[in-house]
Symmetry: C3
Subunit: 343 residues, 3 copies
């Protein structure tokens, strides 16, 4: 991958607000791990486990905490949070996307749409009537934005994104390929014979600085809107049902499924493959571990789990036989205790 | 969202087949929940839990059971099934989709395709040879329909839908964005060194009144067809393997995975994130709870579950340590019982 | 589905390297199961369970092991591995895809892209700068290939596939509709207030003979590349996180989620809906059963599982009450044993 920008170490220090130790004029043109970085690249040490790689790295500069300076034989950028500083450094070296603003000739743009000149619209993009798009936003090839939707500034929609009609999306939002925002919530009334569709009349509101992963889906609300707070990060293959409210800065890992009308607090982490049943509430600062199901509301911050640990299948089968007998086992213990007392 | 249709209460009563109480000439222009509805909107009371909201609602008319009439201070529409009546009311107020029929100039339509004038084909849609599309069907932007596929009447495919070749889809079918119908079933024969692809020669048959959610995938059969019955409702992110047969009016919630050659009966509900292993059969009227795995056939109607409940992670770890020792615990109980008898 | 090729049995025998018994001039024009095959079709017997269908099949030829010849009343093709031979036979009868090579007039191809004349590029395909595509590759309608990506020979990308920039894909690779390769890995550094994006500077390398199912997603690496080995088969709705390394010929069934930086060995099988947490390693020849979570590294070949078996929900609830008390139950057993010793 082209990492074709170059910075002097003193420039990086200035851009990241860090002090440097060593040769400020040394030029850096990319990023590598401590183990794999080459001369001319920046690396970082944030996890103590890798501290012994520091002395042997080929990197030309390492972001690290002050206490590791002594073990560093190359140039250093001193940070109280090397991982955060590293994250900011990736911004400097991300590949240049050489997109001239403007609308590709093959795009189908309704004349009523409001699109500033700084916007980039890729090939075969379809923008329906009354759509508003903010300055400097990029809409990738073959994407679709339905009528009446509003997209903020500095957003980046990758190729093949679908935004239904009447959706509101904030600033600095990233939607990855295959993401779908505003599909119908799954609502039906069973009349005794068949399911009558409840047309989904609400929309979706997505805050600022939100990222939605590839092939993730966010349903529109039944009557009111589905709401995704500011700074929410959603990984790939996630499903968010209608009328959910996801609190600011909550992180939802890959393959999570959230049923309808779930309220999740701020700064939560839903682990990969976890789920939540409908109509429950999860407090702020809750962490749910991988592939766990939240089947009732959680009122208190903390870490929650369900399921069982991996075992060799032969042993797991034996545990499962007993799991099915567990209530009986409990009663047998109680009987034993009773008869002990009778002695 | 534009809810720009207006009906008098007496019109709604007539359209839904309900009696009204109050001012039949009052005009209604949208739908809201009891709590949030404004004057001029319709609401409904179907869940007793919300009965105390009835007296304070601002809605101009409420669909409710007769027994709640006394507590209703606004106009009422009396229904034996308020939720079903509400579902039908959403049909009245769903946003107008102002699509003129016809084929967008940017669509690529094979000349052998059979497309009545009443059909709407959006921008960049690709329709291959020998496709037949029924009257009044809408094919959203950037969708693809492979050669030889047949689509019924009054269907609505949203943007970015993919239908492979030689698929049969009934009438009134909704496919949401990202849905894929007819991808290859996952079939390989391992020759001792590598996996030899079994080309998937079957197709998919989808009945009438089926809805398929965003990013859901339905594989074509290996030799015979995968079959989705009438009235089946499939939520987002669902995977249905090759040669499955899903019975009429079964409901499949989000993130469900059904392996190959599974037969599911009629009127079943597969809860969100649940799954079924391959080559099993599930009877009619079975309900599987969220994130449960069906690993053997179910012959009898009822509710089935697997997995464990959510716990604080620290306590859950203690239970898991013991789960791994469960067979040993069982034997220790048995030994205790034996030695008790020996007294 | 059109199965419009016809072969004489002696031709099939020659193409598959098998001996035949019976009428070598008999013409075969399709494939069916033993039960459903019609005259003129080929069938196979690989699972003993279906041996009693052999005498009644209408198939004109059956692939079978020598020991079943006596029970076969029609023509036979004798194989030591009937299932593998059947897989090879499906190749003969797969539907003809009549695509003339060339670039559809509606495609947007950057002039710097390197595309041999034997390549087929469908309608509305977007190919960015410096993309290289190998001979005889097919890129389906509405697909996108980002700048700098390299695609091998004889690949088949179905409609609506997304390949981000700077991805390397080998020969004979199949990507199904909705597949996304190269989306950003899910990497953020939390600065105490919000998540700072770690731009994902790595790419994805996909080996030869790989198949990726519909709506599956493979993230690009953070710094180094995500790597998918030769012969890996990935089903629908699978998520593979950044920096994973998947060993050659491993099979990943539908709905699997693999978190970031997971190394999976060769010839593994990840069962449907299973998952793996981040930063672990799984040895060669490991099989993980359906909907099981791998939460720590597996160093030894074998079969692993987690979770519990399906039960009637009422009984399952009783087991779950006791699961929550399991550590207490263990201690009560220990106390009983202690007090027994004291006798």
């Amino acid at each position: 991958m082209a990492q074709n920008k170059t910075y002097k170490i003193r420039e990086i220090a200035s851009l990241l607000g860090l002090n440097f130790v060593g040769d400020g004029d040394c030029e850096i043109s990319g990023i590598g791990s401590l183990r794999a970085a080459k001369s001319g690249q920046l690396s970082f040490l944030s996890n103590r486990r890798y501290a012994d790689q520091l002395s042997q790295t080929q990197a030309s500069v390492v972001i690290l905490e002050e206490r590791h300076l002594d073990s560093c034989e190359t140039n250093a950028l001193v940070s109280t949070s090397p991982y955060v500083s590293f994250a900011r450094a990736t911004e400097l070296f991300k590949p240049l996307v050489r997109m001239d603003s403007g609308i590709h000739s093959s795009a189908s743009i309704n004349e009523s749409a409001n699109i500033p000149k700084s916007v980039f619209i890729g090939p075969n993009v379809v923008v329906e009537e009354n759509v508003c798009i903010g300055a400097n936003t990029i809409i990738g090839a073959n994407s679709f934005i339905g009528h009446g939707s509003i997209v903020g500034q500095n957003c980046h929609f990758q190729a093949n994104v679908t935004v239904y009609s009447n959706i509101k999306i904030g600033d600095n939002v990233i939607l990855h390929s295959g993401a779908v925002v505003g599909s119908d919530g799954f609502g039906f009334a069973f009349d005794g014979e068949k399911s009558i569709k409840i047309h989904q009349l609400g929309g979706v509101q997505i805050g600022n600085e939100v990222e939605v992963g590839a092939s993730s889906t966010i349903d529109r609300g039944a009557i009111e809107d589905t709401i995704i707070g500011d700074g929410v990060k959603i990984d790939n293959q996630v499903q968010i049902g209608h009328n959910c409210k996801i609190g600011d800065h909550t992180v939802i890992c890959g393959c999570v499924g959230i049923a309808g009308s779930v309220t999740i607090g701020k700064n939560c982490i839903m682990g990969g493959g976890s789920g939540a049943v409908g109509h429950i509430a999860i407090a702020d600062n809750v962490q749910v571990s991988a592939m766990s199901l939240v089947s009732e509301s959680i009122n208190k911050a903390g870490t929650y789990s369900s399921g069982t640990w991996q075992m060799k299948t032969s042993e797991w089968k034996r545990s499962n036989v007993r799991f099915q007998q567990l209530d009986g086992m409990y009663k047998r213990i109680r009987n034993l205790e009773k008869s002990k007392k009778e002695y």
